[in-house]
Amino acid sequence: MRVMSRNDLLLFVGFTVVVLAMPIWLHPFGAAYPDLLQRFMIFGIFAVGFNILFGLTGYLSFGHAAFFGVGSYAAVWSFKLLSLDAIPALIFAVVVSGLFSLIIGYVSLRRSGIYFSILTLAFAQMSYNLAYSVLTPITNGETGLQLTLGDPRSLDVAMGVSTVGQPVPTLLGQSLGGFAGFYFCAGFLILAFFIAQRITNSPFGMMLKGIKSNQTRMNYTGFNTKPYTLAAFVISGMYAGLAGALLAVTDPLAGAERMQWTASGEVVLMTILGGAGTLVGPVIGAWLIKYFENIFSAINDNILRGFWSFLPEGADNVMVTISSKFVGEGWFLTLGLLFVLVVVFLPGGIMEGVRRIAHLFDRKPKDKPGKAAPRPQPAE
């Protein structure tokens, strides 16, 4: 049996190289510090997982941040109760968020279209609001759940491991700070990408794509589509839980704001910006948004003055005033304009742009150069 086609293998190897070499090639962009790189990896996993549901089946969930948040809480609880090691925490978080998404998915998938979106949104907002109010014993409310010296950590005690000072998550006794944390997360992103790639190319993935293009016809051919969509929902919920747990590993403080609808909206935007339904697109979307969030918001007037200093006197001041509206506090404006421009000019997201550029270099005559295939419209 052929394990992977040549193109898939090339894509996977290329992706791995790009990810592992990030500290090198992101250096000129000022983004090669571990904290941001870890976020790139974590939100990359989140977006890849979201794409398994949205990109393949077309079900737009507006509540995926709930699974992300549940993953974070579960990981921190595992640090508190079991062990400071990252592996049990990740397993525990993936299991808990998987169960959680099984329940929510089972109920929400009774409806489709926007009714499904609103059901997931409602569940996520309920989790968020309850995490702030009634569930404070579990979530520690607004303060956020954090590690303390007095935590029981039963596994660590049984193994005779003792910690000195402020407890931080470790991997087999090794610290996960800085670049070690980045490579830890990068390993999981590559694994997540690999699994997503296999799912996309598997018969199961074909089934999901069939559900997206025409669910009624899938039903008529004798498939019960519900278990497949539910499986996709749970898988993407587990991805979100894994991402949330990794965020807790790199920064063991879980807050409820991770579950708010804006966080759910963010992953939707990442996926669409990069290109829903493609494998690499969502990761690129996630990187781009996180890059804007961290780098553009850090630019201040002094940096701008340095950037425009080649202009004559007076003109540089004008440019600094104009461009300062788009960076620092105003980075959101740039993001909004980016969304509008991408959707207007590149309907399929950034991957669509890549495909168009590839077309320019493609000598072979194509029947419709530069145009995406018409989208199949689902029947009633």
Binding site: F54, L60, V107, R110, R111, S112, G113, I114, Y115, I118, L119, L121, A122, F123, Q125, M126, N129, L130, Y132, S133, V134, L135, Q215, W261, T262, G265, V268, L269, I272, L273, A276, K325, E329, G330, F332, L333, L335, G336, L337, L338, F339, V340, V342, V343, V344, P347, R375, P378, A379, E380
Partner: protein, 343 residues
């Protein structure tokens, strides 16, 4: 006990009215153009800032120094006189006092222009696109609008005073022939409710009793056939988008005394309004209004202390809980039609 329930019912009305107004506009846009408009909350916010702008305009002052008199700390006394008062005399003072309702005069043309410009400029190109892309582009527009407002008016809420005659509370209980001073209700909230009632009634009457409205309703039912009859349905739908923007803007203007507007007031309302629209049933105008009031009133009941003691935390989740229950019992919301946005 009856008084308490009646009071909570009243309390729910003004919030429900705001939800109903925003949801009505959302449904107008969705029902006519088939576009999921995430920028609708931003239109609400822009309306609110029309009121802020108007007030800043009418309270422009001339500052003259009076060298004869000294203020307590020795500097010449400043005499501030609002310009409108200098120009219009007493009417100017009334205008300053009633700045919030008066700003509707500028809100209507501004919002109409914004709405029509938005539709012709960008949204027109998205009729046939998937809903996910419509969401992305309107969300981007909402962010841009928010950030522009933030850079002009700053990030902090700007309180808008209500007219001095309309402060305080009305004794509704006494009015209805019950015991005095048991059921009192802030006058402005009552006005907001009546205002929303007029707007909603106006929109329904417009759609029901005018030829224009009849054509629009026909277009909502079957756009192609209406187009084949030689009617320029696109232009009418553009005007409906402008109308939806005006409704959202006016809802925003009148809400400013209740909640000082800041740049993300629209986003705060947007998500709830979407829940309201969907609970009402996509594309159904009566559904949007009914669901708006239903959820507003239920929210107000859930924040009663007795209810909270019974079910802790219920006030935080009631809207979403009701939405889940309604959507599971009635697959298309209260008045939704089959096949609309279910794919």
């Amino acid at each position: 006990m009856f008084e308490v329930i009646f009071l909570q019912f009243l309390n729910g009305l003004d919030k429900g009215a705001a939800y109903a107004l925003i949801a009505l506009g959302l449904t107008l846009v969705f029902g006519t153009l088939g576009v999921v408009n995430f920028a609708h909350g931003a239109l609400f916010m822009l309306g609110a800032f029309c009121a802020v702008l108007f007030r800043q305009f009418v309270t422009l002052e001339t500052v003259t120094l009076d060298p004869e008199k000294l203020s307590p700390w020795g500097a010449p006394l400043e005499i501030r006189e609002p310009l409108v008062q200098a120009w219009f005399g007493d009417f100017g003072a009334v205008l300053v006092n009633y700045s919030v309702p008066a700003s509707i005069i500028i809100t209507i043309p501004i919002m109409l222009l914004v709405g029509i410009g938005l539709e012709r400029g960008i949204i027109k190109h998205f009729y046939k696109r998937p809903h996910a892309e419509q969401i992305l582009v309107t969300f981007g527009l909402a962010i841009v609008a928010q950030e522009l407002i933030k850079s002009f008016f700053g990030p902090n809420p700007i309180p808008q005073p209500m007219p001095s005659d309309l402060r305080g509370a009305a004794d509704i209980g006494a009015f209805l022939g019950m015991q005095a001073n048991v059921i009192t209700y802030p006058i402005w909230r009552l006005i907001y409710f009546l205002f929303s009632f007029v707007i909603i009634g106006g929109v329904f009457a417009f759609l029901q009793f005018t030829t224009f409205g009849m054509v629009v309703r026909a277009g909502m039912a079957d756009r192609e056939t209406v187009g084949l009859l030689g009617i320029n349905i696109d232009r009418r739908f553009t005007i409906m988008f402008g109308l939806a923007a005006v409704v959202a803007g006016m809802a925003g203007v009148m809400y400013t005394p209740l909640l000082p507007p800041n740049y993300h007031i629209g986003m705060d309302f947007l998500v709830l309004s979407f829940v309201v629209v969907v609970v009402g049933g996509m594309g159904s105008l009566p559904g949007a209004v009914a669901a708006g009031f239903l959820l507003g009133i239920l929210q107000s009941f859930a924040s009663m202390t007795q209810v909270k003691a019974l079910i802790p935390g219920i006030d935080q989740i009631i809207i979403y809980l009701v939405a889940v229950v309604i959507l599971l019992v009635l697959p298309r919301g209260l008045f939704g039609r089959r096949g609309v946005m279910e794919a």
